[in-house]
Assembly symmetry: none
Homo-oligomer: 203 residues x 4
DNA sequence: TATGAATGAGTTTTCATTCAT
DNA sequence: AATGAATGAAAACTCATTCAT
């Protein structure tokens, strides 16, 4: 039986399946056939859309990072928010799993797996950090932040937030999670030279 | 030709080859045959010493982490040093690449590769962090550090130092490297509540 | 976008692309998709015009051999030429690459590739040889050739000329090419019992 | 069931099967699995001995050409024979299918298939022709041959003999075969400037 | 006539592991 | 302790061809 679909739809179907499997089992332990079986198409269909297994991985990562970027950019570009509010917004989003953009938070689960891929790391450093840097600079202009090395410090903060996302979220014990998040927030405040308690962790 | 060696020596030979290849090409892209070829033994010999490819990976990681731990423990257990000196010592070691214990620094190159393995991450959190925590607590006792959540903050500091090792070391531009290291040191100082400038970065 | 063309034109377009690719990469290493891509049509269009990849190969060979035959026949049927002149004409054409019929010589490049196909070999033996045989017989009648076994000798001569086309043409060194051609001409003269020097090689 | 054999034996087994299949069905239409099935080993065994399908083809061709060369060299190096006798010997061998070296003639069946491979053609030109050239030169010294361009003429003679092997042998009709062979012998005589009838075709 | 997404059987190749010696 | 030939399941990928539109 031959089921023809809109190419974009089919491609996304394949990427969805791949994404899910990569997250569940990891890239190396996912075979092209696994993806194919999951979607229920023929072997050739996969290779009609993607040149190789590597190709679909990159496509999946790129799609993911684009969504990630879109989210951060949405906050950064919001003219009505103060730097502190923006920071608060990003942290809230990541930690509280309340979705500003729908379905964003579920992509965060990918993070831990993809974090291992250079492509993703490079992206974080080259795209997300500069965006966050703009918030930091706004904060400095607003007089609420006081940072000596904004670029470098921002990179480290992004790293810490990243860690929060991938590690803290997995902690079962609510109290422990709260304490970890608080400690992280405190560290970020210090890094930014922001007033103590200006960043609030809400669970 | 059949070359018989001391079992321990043979095992280490295999682990050395494996370690090198895992670092160069990554675990998944290293075949058992690659290791075997490098050492120059027969296929069967490998499986005489190790149950599987996975087995040798764990052995390599364990050997590595033991050396890592040994180094940190050596500093932590030094009764003649202040907490600040100990921190300074660890950072110096990692950044300056001067070897306290011979050949330790070259193992650090493994770090980036192994960082992707849960086993290694778990080890860092369960073994290294507690050791560093002892320094932090010593510092608090000495009145030089002021930390609200010592456990959690230590974990984040270990993460930052870790990052320094794997990322800063690769930066070619000396100035950039210095600035990154300085920013990290400043952040660690703030995290520890240590006096500004108490941690010095020397390259 | 759907571009409709005269069926004959489209078919030739496909054959032209196929011919070129077969010559460049060989039949087995040319995929139907290669041809399709080159022409810029859809997968289905190819199969609308040709039943299979094999089908287009035969079509290409047949078209080629028809042109080849046409050329030889043109010379054979020329009543105003002596057998020697005809032989000279064929050799000149092949070696000098001057075109009697326009664009013929470029088809000769196909020769080497097609020579490997039975279909082409059979054609040479069944069609070209008989035509050349007529020249040989004309020469015998004219008293200028002296051949004991005309059929068999003609086949061998055709083989030699064939070889000249495909091999000598590729030799870069002008002198070497000249010598090879001269040796071949001398051998053909001897085979035909023609006077020494009656066949002239001009480059 | 695991049957271990002497590596050389196993390798030859694989080459024998490959050779046979390549001759029967052609290289492109023979799959590695065909060879494997024929020998009755595991998929991996094939790749233990040969890097690829291409690799075994080259190995088979090389083995074949070595046997070919060995045969020709055996005749060329025979000090007790005149040039004419050597030529006669080679032709006899090829045409009469009587084996000087046992089992040589059966390899000749490969010829037609391999003739299509550059590797084989190159070999014929670079190895066999020079050997035959030595006979031609010997004949010139002996005063029995008279050739103007020995190198080039030899190449053409080798080509003709080659053709005899691959084509004449297949002709069913005894008489036709005889005539073709005779015509070829006559042409060779003329090419060599040898006395008429000095080369005898025996069937 | 023409499209191009979809097919699926088949191909080459890899490699962790086993086992008879 | 050591060998290395042999295994075989599974992987990635190809491509001639089909078919619904």
């Amino acid at each position: 039986m031959r089921i023809t679909k809109d190419p974009e739809e089919r491609k996304n179907e394949l990427m969805d399946a791949a994404e899910q499997l990569f997250v569940e089992k990891g890239y190396e332990h996912t075979s092209a056939s696994d993806i194919i079986r999951k979607v229920g198409v023929a072997q050739g269909t996969f290779y009609y859309y993607f040149e190789s297994k590597d190709d679909i991985l990159n496509a999946v990562i790129d799609r993911y990072t684009m969504r990630y970027e879109e989210f951060v950019r949405g906050i950064v570009d919001d003219d009505g928010m103060s730097a502190l509010q923006k920071f608060q917004g990003i942290i809230d989003e990541f930690l509280s799993m309340k979705n500003r953009k729908k379905q964003f938070s579920e992509y965060l689960n990918l993070e831990e797996k993809f974090a291992r891929h250079e492509r993703f790391r490079d992206y974080m450093e080259s795209t997300v950090s500069p965006l966050v840097l703009r918030i930091v600079k706004q904060g400095i202009r607003e007089g609420i932040f006081d940072v000596e090395h904004p670029e470098e410090t921002t990179e480290l903060i992004v790293l810490i937030v990243d860690r929060l996302i991938t590690r803290v979220r997995k902690i079962e014990d609510k109290k422990k999670r709260r304490v970890k998040a608080k400690a992280a927030a405190a560290l970020i405040e210090k890094a930014l030279g922001a007033p103590k308690g200006s960043l609030r962790i809400k669970f």
